[in-house]
């Protein structure tokens, strides 16, 4: 397959560009932050995105979706990275949809996917229990109590945990932390008795939460997939999340670069534009080269995921690792090359580093994915 966007994907990219520029520029993020918004985005934004059909991009056609694939979805993630736009798209339309499509039974698919496509249901994925991503180290328990399961435990860094209608919760039903076997995915209403949601205010101004579960009763019918065999679905859902995060980081890296390049052509010191100094030219040229590599590696991994390639997992770890590295380079260089003004809250360039780091860390940072790539490659 040619490593370029097809016509439909290109159109989606352009429509996303226009949408975010008009309805969710970086100034909107500032407004939400300054207003202390709990969601981290304007109320009207998500219904608009749903109207554009974006909630349904990954949903199969037989469930009312568009079957447009990850390459398509990533065009939106990338543009949202450029404008630093928060929305339920990631937790609901990417993670939630992927998990339900992979593991849901017919009834769950019919109910939940339709509701997501029309914008009446939002989800949040609850996995990690410590400060680092470790999807095998799940200790939260589910005990069988008659027809129900009783859930106890705590989940951290739950993206959209403060606003979601339902959680997809990874729970240990057998074995011990570290085992692949024994992880089960449950669907839990956020309003269920015993669910306590503590909104955490994060560096990127987004909606994240610590969610604790005390003796929460969940019916057996709310298991997503098979008992004890949830890790395969979880892992695939994380892959989908990680490649979309990579696309978002690509947007952040490009926008940081574009804004800084513009600044190098405007800012004068010593009677010359600072972009005329070779010390900065070489750094900018190296940085640009790295961003070019990122474009290729993200698109390659997206295509391999859509094609169901067996190497997709390794490709995605390559992409996430590379994007973590280059997003870090990009947001650091952006501040340094802007100089003092880059340190001010008034100037927008500093917003990019604040979103980049949480996006890097979510579902595994550079070290996690470089290590995973090495393990998958047998060394």
């Amino acid at each position: 397959m040619a490593l370029v966007l097809n016509e439909e994907q290109q159109m989606l990219k352009e429509s996303a560009q226009g949408f975010f520029a008009e309805y969710a520029p970086v100034s909107e993020l500032r407004a939400q932050r300054d207003a202390g918004s709990e969601k981290g985005y304007a109320d009207k934004l998500w219904p608009q995105m749903v109207d554009m059909g974006w909630a349904a991009i990954l949903i199969p056609e037989e469930y009312g979706g568009l079957s447009f694939g990850h390459v398509g979805m990533a065009q939106i993630s990338e543009q949202a990275g450029r404008t630093l736009t928060a929305s339920p798209l990631f937790s609901t339309a990417i993670l939630g949809v992927t998990a339900i499509v992979l593991a849901g039974n017919e009834e769950q698919k019919a109910d939940l996917l339709g509701a997501i496509a029309e914008g009446s249901l939002t989800l949040a994925l609850a996995i990690d229990e410590k400060s680092f991503h470790a999807p095998l180290d799940i200790e939260m328990s589910a005990e069988r109590m008659g027809a129900n399961y009783q859930l106890n435990g705590i989940k951290r860094a739950v993206v959209d945990g403060g606003t979601a209608d339902k959680f997809v919760v990874a729970v240990r039903t057998s074995g011990k932390a570290g085992d692949r076997h024994g992880i089960t995915l449950f669907l839990v209403d956020s309003s269920a008795e015993g669910v306590c949601i503590e909104r955490t205010s994060m560096v990127d101004g987004r909606n994240s939460a610590i969610v604790s579960f005390s003796n929460v009763q969940v019916a057996e019918s709310e298991i997503l997939g098979e008992l004890d065999k949830g890790f395969g679905c979880l892992s695939a859902t994380l892959d989908a999340g990680n490649i979309q995060l990579s696309a978002e980081l690509l947007g952040i890296a490009q926008e940081s670069f574009d804004r800084t390049l513009q600044y190098l052509k405007e800012r004068k010191q010593f009677g010359a534009f600072i972009g005329s100094f070779q010390a900065l030219q070489h750094r900018a040229a190296h940085w640009w080269s790295e961003v070019e590599l990122c474009k290729s590696v993200v698109l390659k991994a997206l295509q391999s995921l859509d094609a169901g390639d067996e190497k997709a997992a390794a490709m995605i770890s390559i992409a996430k690792a590379k994007l973590c590295e280059v997003a870090e380079l990009s947001t650091n260089e952006a501040i340094q090359m802007h100089g003092g003004i880059g340190m001010t809250d008034e100037y927008e360039i500093g917003f990019f580093i604040k979103r980049a780091r949480p996006a890097q860390a979510l579902f595994g940072d550079y070290s996690y994915h470089a290590n995973r790539f090495a393990l998958l490659k047998g060394f």
């Binding site: 030219q281 070489h282 070019e292 690792a321 590379k322 060394f379």
Partner: protein, 392 residues
């Protein structure tokens, strides 16, 4: 069957019958690649046969027009030929600066007479070419070259010194930059000329490198007669062609980096040499370095793929040859630093059968030149900054 499918099956059939078995494996680096030329000694009868058969079809230069001896293939057919050759692991029948560099320049800028004279012998591997660009005082600042060509009416008299002439001692003809108008501004007074290395006054002396090999020469020009009909394009207008050729050279060197990148993986070599426990390489710090290198190498290979696909689909060039040259050569240097670490003291051996005559050490040292030849990494960064980013 459509035309391309027919072409594929005919090509497969022809290769099956015509590519000698011994030519169905990569040439050992620096040993049995075929460069052709007047003084070429074939390393085997198969090497000779393979060159002759491919040259007869014009497939040493598959996409050149048939009237100059080329294969006349369109892009799709050329791609099929390459993939069919890869399928049986067939090596290139001819490595040639004629095909890679001066040939494309002649096709684009040369007169009909020059094309007729020079292209067919290049295709047949009869004439080997070298490049006379750099001078002792004109390396990165190539346009500062001082070798002169003085106009004598029907010919020029050339004087000066060239350096880093690849295989200058083995080549038959040189394409050479001369200053033909000393009064004009730097880039405006340069001509690209062609002459036979046997012309009186031409002397090529090999330069021994830190790697022990001598792939380059210094070439002295003392009152060398150059016919005026051997000027490519117009007199004093050679800089445009020179830059075009440099782009080709960058692509070529960047491509070599890519070939290295695609070669046997560092991680497999490391596991073999250093061992692993529970699937994890024994040296953890080196493991992290190798993982990073392999991630970068994969991203670079995908970028080369994307750039090619973008050109094909008419999206224009995203990344340029300058970036591929810069990144590819830096990656290749890193690759050999890791190969040295992976192989420990064995890698430091300079001579002897056990070390394949110092292959690791010598190749490692040779890679240090990758980011110098064909425009240093710093020059490539200048090109990116100025031409792509618009930083003045």
């Amino acid at each position: 069957m459509n035309n391309l499918e027919t072409f594929r099956s005919e090509t497969r059939d022809w290769l099956e019958h015509n590519c000698p078995k011994a030519m169905r494996q990569p040439a050992r680096p620096g040993e049995d690649a075929c460069w052709g030329g007047r003084n070429w000694v074939f390393s085997s009868e198969d090497q000779k046969l393979w060159l002759e058969r491919m040259a007869a079809k014009g497939w040493t230069a598959p996409d050149w027009p048939t009237e100059y001896g080329g294969g006349g293939l369109n892009k799709a057919e050329h791609k099929i030929l390459k993939s069919e050759m890869r399928r049986i692991n067939a090596r290139s029948p001819l490595d040639s600066f004629g095909i890679w560099m001066i040939g494309p320049a002649l096709l684009k800028f040369g007169s009909e007479a020059l094309k007729q004279q020079h292209l067919p012998p290049i295709v047949r591997g009869e004439i080997r070419w070298c490049q006379g660009y750099s001078e002792p005082n004109a390396g990165s600042d190539l346009a500062g070259l001082q070798s002169k060509g003085v106009d004598m009416g029907d010919h020029l008299i050339a004087n000066g010194q060239k350096v880093w002439t690849s295989y200058g001692d083995k080549a038959d003809w040189m394409f050479c930059l001369l200053r033909t108008d000393p009064e004009a501004k730097k880039q405006m007074g340069i001509s690209l000329v062609l002459f036979d290395m046997e012309t009186p006054g031409v002397t090529a002396k090999p330069i021994k490198l830190i790697s022990g090999s001598s792939p380059f020469c210094e070439t002295f020009l003392d009152d060398v007669r150059v016919e005026k009909d051997q000027i490519v394009g117009d007199i004093n207008q050679g800089w445009t062609i020179a830059k075009y050729l440099l782009t080709h050279e960058r692509e070529m060197i960047g491509g070599m980096g890519l070939a290295g990148v695609g070669a046997a993986s560092l991680s497999q070599m490391a596991v073999k040499q250093l061992g692993s426990r529970h699937g994890i390489l024994n040296d953890l710090m080196l493991r992290a370095d190798i993982a990073k290198w392999e991630i970068d190498a994969a991203a670079f290979a995908f970028t080369a793929e994307r750039v090619t696909d973008e050109v094909k689909s008419g999206h224009g060039v995203g990344a340029t040859s300058a970036m591929l040259k810069y990144y590819g050569t830096e990656l290749n240097k890193r690759r050999f630093e890791y190969i040295m670490k992976i192989n420990g003291s064995d890698a430091m051996v300079w001579e002897g059968d056990s070390s394949n005559d110092g292959w690791a050490a010598k190749t490692w040292l040779r890679t240090k030149g990758n980011s110098i030849e064909g425009g240093t990494s710093e020059v490539q960064l200048n090109i990116i900054a100025k031409n792509i980013l618009g930083l003045g």
